[in-house]
């Protein structure tokens, strides 16, 4: 019965994804220690035991979520953007608009940013979208539109500020948000 087996795998996949999706938000809001499996399972809408069918432990689930947090936050769009034949300023403005839009509309994006940045703070992990941003910054400094300074630190400042507003949206619905221009200004020189 290959069909039934297939269906089974699908269901497994669905449940697993449901757990991950719902957990991202929960962990992002409450942290690892602040998240109880009993509360989390209620929030997901499944029994406590079910979580342990898909993940070995609370830590295992957290690791999983942590390790894909950058994938949750960026999803390839930025890489594509960085490769387009555009001036850096344009790229930065597009990136900022993309980020702000996502912060406003997609809680998973905010949660991904929050978790990923926390990880950075704790163990200096590295992310694709940091690298991408550095590339754009370097291009911009050559073109003269981006402020001078260490590209890594500029990238960190940029995404640090994004993190700030990500956390804000996780705690407060309709949080007062920075706009795309002000976010871009972190990197771009003021026009003369």
């Amino acid at each position: 019965m290959p069909k039934s087996q297939e269906r089974c795998r699908e269901i497994r996949e669905e449940t697993r994804n449901l757990i991950i999706k719902k957990s991202v938000l929960y962990f992002a809001r409450n942290g690892f220690a602040g998240t109880k499996i009993s509360d989390l399972s209620k929030h997901i809408g499944i029994a406590q035991g079910t979580i342990y069918i898909y993940f070995k432990s609370k830590e295992d689930l957290y690791e999983e979520i942590f390790s894909i947090s950058d994938k949750i936050a960026s999803n390839g769009k930025l890489t594509t953007l960085s490769k387009l034949p555009l001036p850096a300023e344009k790229k930065i403005r597009m990136m900022s608009e993309y980020v702000i839009k996502n912060l406003k509309e997609d809680e998973m994006f905010s949660a991904g940013i929050a978790l990923f940045t926390q990880r950075l703070l704790e163990d200096e992990a590295d992310a694709a979208f940091y690298k991408t941003t550095e590339k754009i910054i370097r291009q911009g400094q050559k073109e003269g539109c981006v402020v001078s300074g260490n590209v890594r630190k500029l990238s960190e400042l940029y995404w640090g500020v994004v993190y700030l507003y990500a956390v804000k949206t996780l705690y407060t619905a309709d949080a007062a948000m920075i706009n795309a221009d002000d976010l871009s200004r972190l990197l771009l020189e003021d026009r003369k």
Copy 2:
């Protein structure tokens, strides 16, 4: 011979302050749920029971620290600064230098900033140093040296970035730090 009332009060005051002082760092680093009383008391250098002489519960201790986090971070210097007969640009640069110096040298400052900012996220508390910063920003916008925009949001951005680096220093000794000029630039227009 009974101990003198006065001496007893002193001892109590001292122990209470010791607990608060040492707990600030611990809670700032590990959060409420991530802090175990057994570890905390070891870190303070007292018995577990002693904490409960001064605070009703772990939550009570956290609340206390949380609620005085702005006092831990600021110490009146900023208020004095804002009242000096100086151009806003000078004030902003001095403030940034002051902040960076403290982030580097005083873990309590970082911890206070971290806890206070978390408090802002959770219950929209208000802080003296936000108000003070807004005043300076307003002055700067009149004088033409500060970027245009909502003063509250600019103040939040400024202290948000300070928070980022505060958290960084709490997790990593000798964290790569923003410099005072770059911090000031969040508010100041680039020179033409």
Copy 3:
């Protein structure tokens, strides 16, 4: 396959009742402060944590037991008895025999009496079987077989003595017990 709702409710009901039943004896013997949850759970034959699934705290469990202590002690037999078309003397003798029999054979009865009487001392609660006894006493005084005096006080004396022997059986197996005649005599006049 999820357990059926119905079966779950049953299991919960059973465990809750088991805890109550076993705790009655324990609390009656050792009092609130003298009862350790660790010992109690061992005595019940469950894990410590299980108690906290069903009761918020040790106090909560005690309150529950305390507040149903009259239900544990009485089981409607007395009410039935009081309504039979019998002379009061007969009723009193039957009541005493019933009580003595229960004291001897049913530890739960003794525990219920002990807890309930303590409750009376602490907060002047009222019990069905006090009222019932008062009714019988009143009948007996009319019929001339019961000693004169305030019915409430006579009822209290009667059940107070029952309490004495209840406590005795809780502490000592095969305690020297009062007999039914002597218990009845507390209310009945000596035959001329």
Copy 4:
């Protein structure tokens, strides 16, 4: 300096007696496990440490109080009474009047009775006043005024009832009290 030494001993004796006196009531009301040294010392009006100057441990203090509880309750009056050349009925009536008076006026008497009786329940100790009462009962049975039955059990019933009202006065100020006649009746035959 013999005088000063003498005075010292006096002070010691006074403090020790104060602790015992105040503790009797406290332990009688709350039991051993239910009595906290912190509360007890507050109730006595001394520091916690002071108790440990006079008693090795909480248990030691309790033992002391326990072991003198019968001395607290009876104070020789009953022994004297039993030896007077009086009819048993008279002795019983006098004893009851003495007991009731003390229950009403002297909390220490009630506390002593309560503690002593609890001890009896737990470890079958023996008391002077039980023996004395048994002697009077035996005399009364010979004289025909006391109900027939085992003297030990009658004595236990008598003092058990006294215990009931002792406990009552410990919990409730102005508790409804049995009167001396009704108390005597526990032993005396109704008059023909």
